[in-house]
Amino acid sequence: MLSSTIVPKSEDAVASIIAAAAAGGERLAIEGNGSKRALLRPVRATRTVSLRGLSGITLYHPTELIISARAGTPLPEIEAALAEHGQHLIAEPPDLAALFGSSRPATIGGIVATNLSGPRRIAWGAMRDHVMGIRAVNGKGEIFRSGGRVLKNVTGLDLCKLLTGSHGTLGVITEVTLKVLPAPKASGTVSIHVATLEQGIAALSAGLGSPFSVSGAALLPEGEGAVAHLRIEDFAESVAYRCGRLRDDMARFGAASVQMETQMLWQGIRDAEPLGATPEEAIWRISVQPSAAPGVVAQLRAAGGTKFLLDWGGGLVWVAAHASEAAHQAVVAAALWAQGSYTLFRAPEALRSTVAVLPDELPALAAIARRVKAVMDPAGLLNPGRMRAGQ
């Protein structure tokens, strides 16, 4: 188990710690506030390096749509600074403290390292799409940068994307620069009661295929049927007009109604609250093309009592079920059937250390992955085993 946590106060200190660990053959767990420690596989390390000591916004130019912050900056601090200027984080990253049973808020470095996005992802892109610049320390203790503080940059290989979602296994992110946008002035939701999940997906697809810039499309199962929610965010006049048009268009799928100012509903969906997972249950996320989602749900229902929440137009299926290998295999089989992918998102340590929490790479990519890891972290000391056994 983890014996101690080091909290460096500067990027240089992070670099020295890693260089020393590399020299001493020591393995390190890398985290921000540790709010998602229970995500993916348990890390086998002798010490933890927490980035929470590297905190604070370092640059914010609202008219340039750019914010930079040290990796350990709590997400709420960034959101509050943006809100003061009427702006927001485009990908709507979730607050999973409740889901992971953490009392601490996520850090911006942790959100980028895990590439977590909320409902707005379907329309405006994922966290990885808005990481414009990164500073990090590789597994040799060397400080490097990629990208910068401008919105368009194709200079050199895009290590911002490589590091985003790499769960701290290729480098320790010390600072990130993100594209931000003006926050919408208003929002509204069209809710449609549908008789089947197929109809629900059809409604979401019709909404996303409409000219009304839908920025959230979720499906909450209720018995045999479900409620489909479509969100519009914009200036108040546009929200009212487009919600009205959408409601009329959606009537063919079921009883449709409009509600204004539905932030709480979408915050809940963002944080997977409607999934209703109990603390003992395991949680998976399955990525599929939306039209395959009802089939995935049907398969998993046949395999046993499970709970669902569909976001991203049906392309993201949240699943909660009894934490067992059998349930995991059912999820793996359903994702495979749908030609999609999966993540065992939360589970007791016993389960997540025995099963493959992510699908294996194809052999040709696995070989490249080993070589990439050897470039970035040759001693394999950063978050060993976090994503896959031995990786």
């Binding site: 609202p62 008219t63 340039e64 749509l65 009427g86 996005s117 992802r121 379907i122 892109g125 994922a126 990885r128 799409d129 060397e142 490097f144 910068g148 503080r149 401008v150 919105l151 368009k152 940059n153 194709v154 200079t155 050199g156 895009d158 290590l159 994307k161 490589l162 979602g165 790499s166 946008l181 003006p182 697809s205 996303l208 295929g209 409409s210 000219p211 009304f212 810039s213 006049e237 546009s238 007009y241 990525s287 599929v288 093309q289 939306p290 039209s291 991203w312 137009g313 999609g340 992918s341 993540t343 992510l358 790479e361 040709a364 990519l365 490249i368 992955a369 070589r371 990439v372 470039v375």
Partner: protein, 486 residues
């Protein structure tokens, strides 16, 4: 001129044998080796550089691409992938000992799926070809580089192409779901798929924008979007660059995200007006084209707000398009900007740095001073919302001194972009053109690291070598004498 590595003598000596082997893989007319027929492939959009390749292959399937790469890898033969050859940075410039792999015959749209809002297309489908294919159903493919009529999606992926509308819709990387990717060993792998955000390392992200350094993309799964109910443009002209820059800040600060926000300086306005007769104000120092989306009422409302904001900055003229036709007229000059400059000067270099938008007045002032000291005219057109500059440096290609001056002027502009916190290239790529400027932006350690990552995909440095990464400090080229391009 930018040096290229010397060709491998053993490869040149085996040319006939290599061509025969390629013909066995691609029967028919898919292998080109005659000098006259190689000519069209000796350059790309950076036409100051020319070099006929060893041979050209025009595969028609992923299997042929894989077989050619497998052969070239085994034989140590270099490969330069090519789409339409519209690169402005020399990304598709051949090497004398390299096989150019042209993907233009892989031009089929394989799947269009409106329910899941995606299309699977081969690498040689043109950018505009995707939109043309789906627009009758109200859909479009968002990234719209100026070369969209000709440029191909495979090249767009390799350059992570942008366009005029990326402030709202993002660049190529933000509009992809999956790739069929062939490694230099000839292994075919599916990257991503038909779903969002595959867990694991973001191969899709690192391959996009990799300029042909990591492998060859043969098929692309793109997101297609439903278009808005309508869109309309307006034009706002100001008597100083600073004031126009302030107006841009005020628009973005107000919470409006125009779908496009383009900026032109005086020389560019004049060149475009002479070409397109779009009604541009010739007395302006700077002009903005601003486009908004929505139904007619939404457009009216947004345009009136923007007009109100612009009015605070004493515009010389404000013109709101009343119809779609008037919008097209406003855009006509901008879309033809490169051609318009081409009418004034037969040769120009199109630069592509990005700067923090707040640095705009300073950077444009410095570019003006450099223009005077180099004695070369420059016209500036750029995407104002994201700070991506396109200075067009006019020169005379028949005069070697003029070309050298233009290259040095361009390099100075890009160094300035980095100095003020920006980067060397926003959307055209490093290619050959900006390769030797990379140390301006990156430390030796950072360069070593991305070079090592390139080698993780392509250990023998066979894929598009001599581009992107400076030759200096690269052990793979250390022992090879360096020659100048023709």
């Amino acid at each position: 001129m930018i040096p290229l590595p010397a060709p491998k003598p053993d490869v040149l000596a085996r040319r006939a044998q290599i061509v025969a082997a390629l013909q066995a893989i691609i029967p028919g007319d898919g292998v080109i080796s005659e000098a006259l027929r190689l000519k069209p492939y000796e350059t790309d959009g950076l036409s100051a550089y020319r070099q006929p390749p060893l041979a050209v292959v025009l595969p028609t399937s992923t299997e042929q691409v894989a077989a050619v790469l497998k052969y070239c890898n085994a034989q140590g033969v270099r490969v330069v992938p090519r789409g339409a050859g519209t690169s402005l940075s020399g990304g598709a410039l051949p090497l004398a000992d390299a096989v150019v792999m042209g993907l233009m015959r892989m031009n089929h749209i394989k799947t269009v799926d409106y329910e899941n809002r995606l299309a699977v297309v081969e690498a040689g489908v043109t950018n505009l070809g995707i939109t043309k294919h789906v627009e009758a159903d109200g859909f479009f493919y968002a990234p719209d580089p100026s070369s969209q009529l000709a440029c191909m999606i495979g090249g767009n992926v390799m350059m992570n192409s942008g366009g005029a509308h990326c402030l709202k819709y993002g660049v190529t990387a933000n509009n992809l779901l999956g790739l069929t990717f062939v490694t230099i060993e000839g292994e075919v792998v599916q990257i991503g798929g038909t779903y969002l955000d595959a867990p694991g390392y973001d191969w899709l992200g690192i391959i996009t924008g990799s300029e042909g350094q990591l492998g060859v993309v043969t098929e692309v799964t793109v997101r297609i979007l439903r278009g808005p109910e309508g869109a309309r443009a307006m034009l706002a002209a100001f008597d100083s660059i600073e004031v126009a820059g302030q107006a841009v800040d005020a628009i973005i600060g107000s919470g409006i995200i125009p779908v496009a926000l383009e900026f032109m300086d005086r020389p560019c306005i004049h060149a475009c007006e002479a070409f397109a007769h779009a009604g541009y104000p010739l007395d302006a120092e700077a002009m903005l084209i601003i486009e908004v989306e929505g139904n007619v009422e939404e457009q009216d409302r947004l345009l009136s707000w923007i007009k109100e904001i612009c009015n605070r900055f004493n515009p010389i003229s404000l013109k709101v398009a009343e119809t779609a036709e008037e919008s097209l007229a406003i855009w006509k000059g901008r879309k033809g900007a490169f051609g318009a400059v081409g009418r004034i000067s037969p040769d120009y270099l199109c630069m592509d740095g990005t700067i923090p938008t707040g640095e705009l007045p300073f950077v444009l002032k410095r570019i003006g001073e450099m223009s005077a000291s180099y004695g070369l005219q420059v016209a500036n057109v750029f995407h104002a919302g994201d700070g991506n500059l396109h200075p067009l440096i006019m020169f005379d290609a028949n005069n070697e001194a003029s070309f050298h001056a233009a290259e040095n002027f361009g390099a100075d502009i890009l160094k300035l972009c980095v100095e003020v916190g920006g980067c060397l290239t926003g959307e055209h790529g490093v290619g050959i053109e900006k390769r030797d400027l990379m140390p301006v932006q990156f430390t030796p350690l950072e360069l070593d690291q991305i070079r090592a990552l390139k080698a993780a995909f392509d250990p023998q440095w066979l894929l598009n070598p001599a581009k992107v990464f400076p030759l200096e400090g690269n052990p793979i080229f250390a022992t090879i004498p360096v020659l100048n391009a023709a």
